[in-house]
């Protein structure tokens, strides 16, 4: 008995652990062979669907959606019962805070699970997902009269919005449309009307004028508050590039990457744009390096700054008495001029579809329904601005919603139709490149390096990421 127990022990512990360890290693290595490059085509081929268009075509199906927390998502979710009534499709959905949302979507798409049939996406996501073959090109759906209502009118969307979502991962030709734009922001020069009036100053029109006005107002007191001359995003991640900085970048004719893949971020034009932006940021709060759009917006909404360049639809916050102490005091200006005129970037929230979806036609019916003129108009009073359809810009709903917001409804339309454009490389690598460039801008703003020095180094690093 004693002998037997000891024998068990001896075999049991040492050898067993070794055996299990080796087994686990083998299983792990086998598991690493998951195929990440497979083409994940699920569901029906959209070009082969025939017949009359009908909202009830996919009756009885269930689709699963995922949204980031955003007024656009809320406005769609509130209307879901009417979609279910119209189509007979059952909808389940998840809503997550932005960061967790991106992780969840990436996990689901990259593993090809196809748990989510349609999802919310921003521009860099489209590039990442499309390059990997994770999301579905939508042209075959839009061009098939059996799948798209003849009243849908895709021409009604602002060209700049469609352009952001159109991309060819191979870099040749115009490419496919990867997502339908549903919410738009471009970048306005916000100014405090009351402060400019009190100081006897005109609204600045060029970057040099904004810099000198910010310098004069910085540190002065208005309404009992000591203000900073300016505020803008200063965080070291790519949204700093796509936000207010994109106005300086475009206004001085900056370029990031040439068509043949050469990084131009250290060209004289871009270096000048960075220099001007850094000059302006000297009049921002000292800890501007930690400011994302959220901190910047709150700083301005609390009445702490004279100028701010960022997403025009932040008007929603500025004109809300519960969130702002500057209600009725904000002017919505065009992006300031530089050597190459006025310019700014653009950001779109869109609806996209998973390539692995088994219910792709039902998912398309949802995407189509959510972006019809009728639904996007219903979404306006729920806070989904700016609309992406031209016919809604001057609709009564939009006029009514923004009636107390000064010149807002004219300003955003001019910015979108004349100046807004996606200004950076459309590449799955954009977040990584953008993060590196934003870091260089921060180095200049914090006075650690000269603009030329910082951008030279950033160009070198990002060239090696691209090559």
């Amino acid at each position: 008995m004693e002998n037997e127990r000891r024998r068990w022990r001896r075999i049991g512990r040492r050898d067993f652990l070794k055996g299990v360890g080796a087994g686990a290693l083998a299983v792990s290595l086998a598991g690493c062979g998951v195929d990440f490059s497979q083409k994940r085509q699920g569901g029906q081929d959209p070009s082969k669907v025939k017949g009359e268009f009908s909202w009830t075509r996919e009756k009885g199906k269930t689709i699963n959606l995922i949204f980031a927390q955003h007024p656009m998502a809320d406005s769609f979710i509130a209307e879901l019962p009417s979609f279910e009534n119209l189509t007979g499709i059952k909808v389940t959905y998840d809503t997550l805070p932005e960061e967790e949302f991106f992780q969840k979507v990436r996990t689901d798409l990259s593993t090809g699970q196809g748990n989510y049939d349609a999802f919310m996406a921003g521009p860099p996501n489209n590039f990442q997902y499309a390059a990997a073959g994770w999301n579905e090109p939508l042209d075959d759906y839009i061009n098939n009269p059996a799948l798209t209502d003849k009243n849908y009118n895709v021409e009604d969307f602002y060209p700049a919005c469609i352009d952001v979502n159109t991309w060819d991962p191979k870099g040749t030709g115009k490419g496919s449309l990867w997502a339908i734009p549903a919410n738009e922001e471009a970048y306005s020069l916000f100014y405090r009307k009351d402060i400019l009036e009190q100081a006897g100053m005109a609204v600045p029109q060029t970057f040099d004028e904004v810099i000198s006005a910010a310098a004069k107002l910085d540190g002065q007191s208005f309404g009992g508050k000591k203000i900073t001359g300016f505020v803008g995003r200063g965080d070291k991640t790519f949204p700093t590039m796509t936000g207010g900085f994109s106005s300086a970048f475009g206004a001085y004719g900056g370029q990031d990457v040439s068509p043949d893949g050469e990084v131009l971020i250290n060209s004289p034009e871009t270096v000048k744009a960075v220099t001007k932006w850094a000059e302006l940021q000297q009049y921002s709060p000292d800890n501007v390096g930690t400011f994302t759009w959220y901190e910047s917006m709150n700083h301005f909404a609390a009445g702490n700054s004279a100028f701010f360049i960022d997403a025009d639809h932040m008007s929603e916050t500025f004109e809300n008495p519960d969130a702002s102490s500057v209600v009725g005091k904000v002017g919505y200006g065009l992006p300031p001029q530089g050597d190459a005129g006025r310019a700014c970037g653009i950001w779109i929230w869109s609806l996209a579809m998973a390539a692995a979806s088994q219910n792709n036609i039902a998912a398309w019916l949802f995407v189509q329904w959510a972006t019809t003129k009728e639904q996007l108009e219903k979404a306006i009073p729920k806070g989904n601005i700016n609309p992406t359809r031209q016919s809604l810009a001057n609709s009564d709903t939009m006029k009514e919603y923004t009636k107390d917001w000064g010149n807002y409804n004219e300003a955003w339309q001019t910015i979108l139709s004349d100046y807004a454009k996606w200004r950076y490389i459309k590449s799955p690598k954009f977040p990584e490149l953008g993060d590196r460039w934003a870091l260089a801008i921060q180095e200049v703003v914090l006075g650690k390096k000269s603009a030329q020095e910082a951008m030279d180094e950033a160009a070198k690093d990002t060239q090696s990421i691209l090559d």
């Binding site: 049991g12 067993f16 299983v27 991106f102 990997a132 800890n287 914090l446 650690k448």
Partner: protein, 287 residues
């Protein structure tokens, strides 16, 4: 006979399942750190040897920078918290009703989610925040806590210290209470002064407890993520970018899983090394 032969293996099954569940993700991660696995490219990972390690941890590479920040952060945090925790624990060894109250109060920071505590400190550390206001009381100039590359690491360690010093206090206090009073009395009869008593008696007897504190706080601060990410996201520039935050940016934002895993493997080696060495020392002493 045969059934009693199989039974032990059968009983081991849950343990084996657990072991596989732990080892499988870990070994996958280690394997990926030797590949060019990049989700953004949508290609299957191919074996790349030690390329990830060579490029990141070369002089000037972001891995090497993050490695040094990780070490600096952990060294600062552990040193500060051990010293402070030891001092406070000594004070709390006294008797009295107010001491009991303070002992109960002192764990409060530990009960708060670190992200919430960090948000709170972030607000206090803004240029017009309450910390600079208080500096003004003693005629000191305002301090750019989180906004400057030269002070951010220190400020983040300060937040860490506020949250985790109570943990050190709790452990060391328990240790001090386990020292028999006779030893203290004997020391006093022999005429030892209080500082001498602390240095020659309490400190050596607390040695195993110090090791526990350094192992736990050391590993925790080596792999610190939540406080740094909430306070500075690794910035300004890269002043607080440790291995864990760097791995997050590389892996989750840039989708470069291979490189990200190489950071995490190095972090794992650091943590394992620390625990291994300290527990060795402890076992040696005890035996």
């Amino acid at each position: 006979m045969t059934s009693s032969r199989r039974l032990p293996y059968l009983l081991l099954l849950p343990g084996i399942a657990l072991l596989v569940a732990i080892l499988y993700p870990f070994l996958s991660g280690v394997y990926w750190s030797f590949t060019d696995f990049d989700l953004a490219l949508g290609q299957n990972p191919t074996f790349a040897g030690i390329t990830n390690y060579l490029t990141s941890f070369a002089p000037g590479g972001e891995g090497l920078h993050a490695f040094l920040i990780t070490l600096a952060y952990a060294a600062l945090a552990v040193a500060l918290q051990t010293a402070l925790g030891f001092g406070v624990a000594l004070l709390l060894m006294r008797e009295g009703a107010h001491i009991k109250f303070i002992r109960a109060l002192i764990v409060l920071p530990l009960l708060m989610p670190p992200v919430v505590a960090t948000m709170m400190w972030r607000v206090m550390m803004i240029p017009d925040g309450v910390l600079n206001y208080m500096l003004g009381w003693v005629w000191l100039p305002p301090f750019d806590w989180l906004g400057s590359t030269s002070t951010a690491l220190f400020s983040v360690v300060l937040i860490d210290t506020w949250i985790y010093t109570p943990f050190v206090i709790l452990i060391l206090l328990a240790g001090m209470q386990s020292i028999p009073t006779e030893i203290h009395e004997a020391a006093r009869v022999d005429g030892a002064s209080y500082p001498r008593e602390v240095w020659n008696l309490v400190v050596p007897l607390l040695r195993p407890f110090f090791i526990i504190v350094i192992v736990f706080r050391g590993i925790d601060s080596l792999k610190m993520f939540d406080i740094i990410y909430t306070a500075t996201r690794g910035g300004p520039i890269d002043a607080t970018m440790n291995l864990h935050v760097q791995a997050y940016f590389t892996g989750v934002r840039d989708l470069n899983i291979g490189e990200s895993m190489s950071f995490l493997v190095v972090l794992w080696v650091l943590c394992y090394g620390l625990a291994f060495v300290l527990l060795r020392i402890r076992r040696g002493r005890m035996a």
